[in-house]
């Protein structure tokens, strides 16, 4: 088991960096390598980082095949309006999935692929289950849902073709101090819109819990999907009240104006986030313990409380004033 080669795609993102730093402490991990378009967010001691854009297929294939990983951890995904506009995010995610998973398929040592997915994959159509389990039908109703469904589909196809196991970690919306999240950004606005007629509940996951789950999935060689969701739930109104934000009740066409204004103020509301505000987003996390051997450390309400505890700007004066 020891000395296995692990390749992490999307290692430059906050979640990817966190995963890589956790993998560095794992005894079963031998060599560790990763790629991303941006450099890692913090210093990684054992990880060999390769900076390349998702559309550089040849370089990606060359790098991945040369490394010949046993385990591929694919977290190179772009959530709409997190770091890129929705159409750009979809393109980048698709390019990364195709080139990285495709490249890994060429590696003879490959045994297991772990992909980062999301509970948006279940969709929130009318009549959709309140807390879908992993066996619920995949019926995405948002662009991000379709994107993660596409990643899982690509990985499953490759897994079937080359005979490796594929595990999908379906994360709830990830919140953390440095994670670019449209949900987190909107909840931290001074005024938070909510649907006065619905105000449905949603669940989230702390970034560290998400990273621990992905590392656990790689360790156990996950070969099926698993929902990774913090226990508990909260509504937008409740979250706004906990954060002492001004809740703005909206109904019907008011949302169109709110979306436009929020976009101008730097907190765009993509369709999967709009879905959270109108239909909620929960998932059954009861199989986490069975499949991964861990449970989330932080409850949804605590994650939201921490969201509001982050300082907006930390100003550190220079130790020596030179001017």
């Amino acid at each position: 088991m020891g000395g296995r080669r692990v390749f992490v795609s999307g290692v430059g993102g906050e979640l990817g960096t966190l995963i890589a730093s956790l993998l560095e402490d794992e005894s079963w991990v031998g060599e560790l390598s990763g790629i991303d378009a941006d450099p890692p967010r913090r210093r990684l001691h054992r990880t060999a980082f390769h900076r390349m854009h998702p559309d550089e297929h040849d370089r990606i294939v060359e790098t991945v095949t040369k490394f010949n990983p046993h385990v591929l951890v694919h977290v190179g995904v772009w959530e709409p309006d997190a770091r890129a506009a929705p159409h750009v995010a979809a393109t980048l995610t698709d390019q990364a999935a195709t080139s990285i998973i495709g490249a890994a398929a060429e590696c003879p040592a490959l045994e297991n692929v772990i992909v980062r997915s999301g509970i948006e994959i279940y969709g929130r159509a009318r009549g959709a289950l309140t807390r879908p389990s992993e066996s619920a039908p995949i019926q995405p109703t948002s662009q991000w849902g379709h994107t993660v469904a596409g990643i899982e589909h690509t990985a499953a196809l490759v897994g079937e073709r080359v005979g490796v196991t594929v595990g999908a970690v379906r994360l709830a919306p990830v919140l953390g101090p440095h994670v670019p999240s449209p949900l987190g950004r909107l909840l931290r606005m001074p005024a938070v819109p909510f649907s006065v007629l619905a105000d449905p509940p949603f669940a989230v996951i702390q970034d560290r819990d998400a990273a621990l789950a992905i590392v656990a999935a790689a360790r156990v060689g996950l070969s099926e999907p698993v929902n990774v969701v913090a226990p508990g739930a909260i509504t937008v109104l409740q979250a706004a009240r906990r954060g002492r934000r001004i809740p703005i009740p909206l109904i019907g066409r008011d949302w169109r104006i709110a979306r436009a204004m929020s976009h101008m103020l730097g907190a765009p509301i993509p369709d999967h986030l709009s879905e959270v505000f109108h239909r909620g987003r929960l998932a059954d996390n009861s199989r986490m313990q069975e499949l991964l051997g861990i449970v989330p450390e932080t409850k949804t309400t605590d994650v939201v409380d921490r969201l509001y505890d982050w300082p907006t700007v930390i100003r550190q004066p220079a130790r020596i004033q030179v001017a």
């Binding site: 009318r126 289950l129 309140t130 739930a233 009861s286």
Partner: protein
């Protein structure tokens, strides 16, 4: 003679004092229990299924204006484990809802009911009260998570008759390996009095390997509820209205 007379005169006064003491003591214990619940529970939260305990408590209090529910047989239901309770229902009686509220109050644990719509605002409000979609997977998920779920049989206008019990939902209970309890409900459109009697768990008749097991269990639950309705007898308002055929046994 005088001592005897004294006893006769003193008795109602003493009785009155006892009654007053009892009422005060019950009110005090109720307030202290409510205070404990308020301080123990976090404010502004919903549970994993979107049920809002504060709203449920408020609605339960308000529901006392409409229903004064007597719950019997609740000792059959475990305090922690999951179970499916099947009640008889009539149109507009809201039997699953008042049953869920009353059983929740009796057991002091969240109880959910099946049959919320999925459209705002009614669906959202029902979800806050503990409503689940009428879908076997939804019910199976709740039962597997150790929740107590109340579902209604199909509406049946006949007295002491129970409508068809959805075997798919009963199948969800079987799949989750939780017991299915029959419960007879009686309410009256003319009065507040209502009653819920929970029976012992219904056992499947014979071991089946296929879906026949859930069909047979659903039928047995239905039979058990009908039997319990027979045993409950008619509900009386104590008014001439009882002479009319609207006694509404079975929750009208």
């Amino acid at each position: 003679m005088s001592s005897s007379l004294g006893r006769v005169i003193n008795f109602p006064a003493r009785r009155g004092t006892e009654l007053a003491t009892s009422v005060v003591s019950r009110a005090t214990s109720g307030i202290s229990a409510a205070t404990t619940r308020f301080t123990a529970e976090q404010t502004a939260t919903v549970d994993d299924w979107g049920r809002d305990p504060q709203l449920v408590r408020m609605i339960t209090t308000l529901s006392h204006f409409r229903w004064s529910v007597t719950v019997g047989g609740d000792q059959h239901l475990k305090r922690r484990k999951g179970a499916l309770v099947v009640v008889n229902a009539r149109r507009f009686a809201l039997a699953p809802i008042f049953s869920a509220l009353a059983i929740s109050e009796a057991l002091d644990r969240p109880v959910r009911f099946v049959g919320r719509p999925d459209t705002a605002p009614i669906g959202s409000f029902s979800r806050r009260l503990g409503g689940l979609l009428d879908h076997p997977d939804e019910v199976a998920g709740a039962l597997s998570a150790g929740e107590l779920v109340v579902m209604g049989a199909d509406h049946d206008p006949r007295l002491r008759e129970v409508g068809i019990v959805d075997h798919a939902l009963v199948g969800a209970a079987m799949l989750s390996s939780v017991p299915v309890f029959p419960a007879a409900t009686a309410s009256n459109p003319m009065s507040r009095n209502a009653r819920i009697e929970v029976g012992s768990a219904t056992r499947p008749g014979r071991k089946r390997r296929g879906p026949l097991a859930e069909l047979e269990l659903a039928d047995r639950v239905r039979d058990d509820i009908e039997l319990m309705l027979e045993e409950m007898g008619e509900m009386r308002t104590g008014t001439p209205l009882d002479w009319l055929p609207i006694t509404a046994m079975g929750g009208s």
